[in-house]
Symmetry: C2
Subunit: 415 residues, 2 copies
């Protein structure tokens, strides 16, 4: 039975993790940074070494294609992303790209030909750490946004994504998306504690959570910190502080069905001697039920209004685009379980609480998301970790699913 | 009796206010920005027009000198700053520079010669809005810091002050300070409500307040917002929010003797999907008594420690350099009152709650700080305003004080 080279995969993960490595064992490789460029270059080098044809589209998504016997058929796509949080770990996203590459090498070694082409993709800016929001490359591929919007998205220093794509050499010429894809399979660490706690090796992801979020803007009035009477101050930062604390209390009351925290704050002028006149707070909600998410959003809107009144501040509340629960293709969930079973791995069904490129690809073609356990459920952290045997198991399941989707034409030696 | 041209002064204030003008009537002219460069160029142009000799030192302080009969004597210095908060008003600092310039023009028109030279100075980066802390140019002039430290001070985008000085063309060649100054007189808006409430035209500043401040850093742990259980989160932003709210409550309890607010916050990674692992909060305290200031600082340190414990965060607390109350030269306080009296203006003694370049010059030579009322006590704000007749009155008092200090040699026509 076809098996990937787990040692090569682990070696590749550690090599990639050295690009933008941090002192605590993580990686700092935000989208379109120098480190992201280096990671892309290494991926392209490895892909060409494996005989793949590499193309880059206008938003910098990289496709490494292994020809099919009937190359005119829509390809089977697999992959994830090489960019990280700021800082992030060595596995979130990276595993999905490098495991797919190792699967292709395994097919090469076994001399397997498939009817359909297999394309290994590295999506641009999944994390959104530098250019929010995330899952941008796959979002555009799925036709959910426009190239112009993305190229003009700026980081905190005002640099547009389009300029950075050109600078790092990944502003490709190929139009984004608008082509048929047969199916998409993405391998990822769970980023949660469920598989580890259950002692299960493979997770077949059945559905997504409901997500929402928003931004609260408080407007006060500038003033000199050393002369404006305390009772006259309209300090926008104080409104922001009170709503952040209140959101955390609200979140504590939602477990285990939902979660919410404020995570982002921007303040003007953010100068020691000046009373802040403007503060923006960003927060994110996830909930098992759409109604639960909406209750939280409504509660935060009410909190914001009452805090603004108490602090003599103006306020505006805006909701970010919501993500509604959906189900992944049932036949691919079953295929995940079958592949795990054939390989002798335990598996279970579970939802994903987090966003992935697979959530966008679900709009394009039948899509599967496969999880492996990660230590302590920790991710978006330098402490993120997965065991080598789980990475190997995930890559083996991926190999069998891709073979099934791309339609193996030749017998595999040991089968 | 010598009188300045109040209309010319007002016209100059409005002209200068047009550089970096904001839609709400203020100016946005942070130190070493393009707008600051334009303001400096205009000041130099006006100074040369008035026959003054302009020199620039290594930190960009600009000195416009009117020769004295005995030019070897230490000069009398006067001025303030042209940089503003972000945004600020048209008067804070600008009045002191432009009134001094108008005094010199008035002496020229009246054909007055003085024994000592008079130098009009524009100090670099009084506000500290872009490059904290403030009063930098005068601080270095007074030998309280080093050129290297200032040139390497960076703004939030990482640009060093030294580079910006070169870029805007104000990296002068003259050594900073290290020369005798006979005396320093600075005219400024009060930036507080006292003169306006008392209906008094001129304030003779007797002493400063006690000031202190600090920075609280909370350390949490990165984590994925959508998968880390609420009870497991170590969200550094939540600690910051709670301490900001607590500091404001503490401040409310201090009035009228003291004031404190948190005004600055920085958070890492400040990304929607990530639990913040680090947050820094900056605050500033002023108090009539040193003991009162110290009580507040101690209380904030204790608050920070208990909040950190409750939120499972690491914490460090650092105190910024404190400013202790001092008295301005009594003979110059009396001179301010005498000048006001001779000109027919009401005057009163009062302290300054805010920092000024005069506080640094106090270490170099006998120094006077003269206040005029500002509307509603508002400053560091686009709403900052002073009445034209108050600006004229202040400039007239400044003229008479400078004449007294520089020793008038010729009779004034109408005296």
């Amino acid at each position: 039975m076809l098996r990937v080279d787990g040692e090569r995969l682990w070696s590749d993960l550690m090599t990639m993790g050295a690009i933008g490595a941090t002192s605590r064992g993580g990686s700092y490789r935000t989208a379109l940074s120098d480190a992201d460029r280096d990671a892309r270059n290494l991926f392209v080098h490895w892909a060409k070494e494996a005989g793949l044809t590499v193309t880059v589209d206008r938003i910098g998504n990289i496709f490494a294609r292994r020809r099919g016997a009937d190359d005119s058929l829509p390809p089977v796509m697999t992959g994830s992303h090489l960019d990280t949080q700021a800082p992030g770990g060595k596995f979130d996203g990276v595993l999905g790209v490098l495991a797919a590459l190792e699967v292709v090498r395994t097919l090469n070694r076994a001399g397997v030909q498939t009817k359909r082409a297999i394309e290994v993709v590295n999506w641009t800016n999944e994390e959104g750490a530098r250019f929010p929001p995330g899952v941008m490359g796959s979002n555009l591929f799925a036709g959910q946004t426009t190239l112009d919007v993305l190229l003009n998205t700026r980081d905190r220093s005002g640099t547009p994504m389009g300029d950075e794509l050109v600078r790092i050499g990944y502003a490709g010429r190929i139009e984004v998306g608008r082509r048929p894809v047969h199916s998409y399979v993405e391998l990822h660490i769970e980023q949660g504690p469920v598989l580890e706690a259950a002692g299960v090796q493979i997770g077949a992801v059945t559905h997504t959570s409901n997500q929402g979020g928003g931004m609260i803007e408080f407007i006060g009035e500038n003033g000199h910190l050393q002369t404006t009477a305390m009772s006259q101050r309209r300090n926008a930062l104080v409104g922001a502080a009170r709503v952040i604390a209140a959101i955390e209390e609200l979140g504590m009351a939602q477990e285990p069905d939902g979660m919410v925290s404020a995570t982002v704050i921007d303040v003007w002028p953010n100068n020691r001697v000046n009373i802040p006149h403007k503060a923006q707070v960003g927060f994110l909600v996830v909930h098992a039920d759409a109604a639960g998410r909406d209750r939280i959003l409504n509660a935060i809107e009410q909190l914001s209004a009452s805090i603004a009144q108490e602090c003599k501040l103006g306020v505006s509340f805006s909701r970010s685009p919501q993500r509604h629960r959906f189900e992944f293709a049932p036949e691919l969930v079953e295929m995940t379980e079958r592949a795990a079973g054939r390989l002798g791995y335990s598996s279970m069904r579970l939802p994903t609480w987090t966003a992935h490129d697979a959530l966008n690809m679900h709009r394009v073609c039948p899509t599967a998301l496969v999880f492996i356990p990660c230590c302590g459920g920790i991710s978006h952290s330098e402490l993120e970790w997965c065991e080598p045997e789980h990475a190997t198991a995930g890559a083996n399941v991926l190999a069998h699913m891709l073979l099934g989707q791309a339609q193996q034409l030749d017998a595999i030696a040991d089968e």
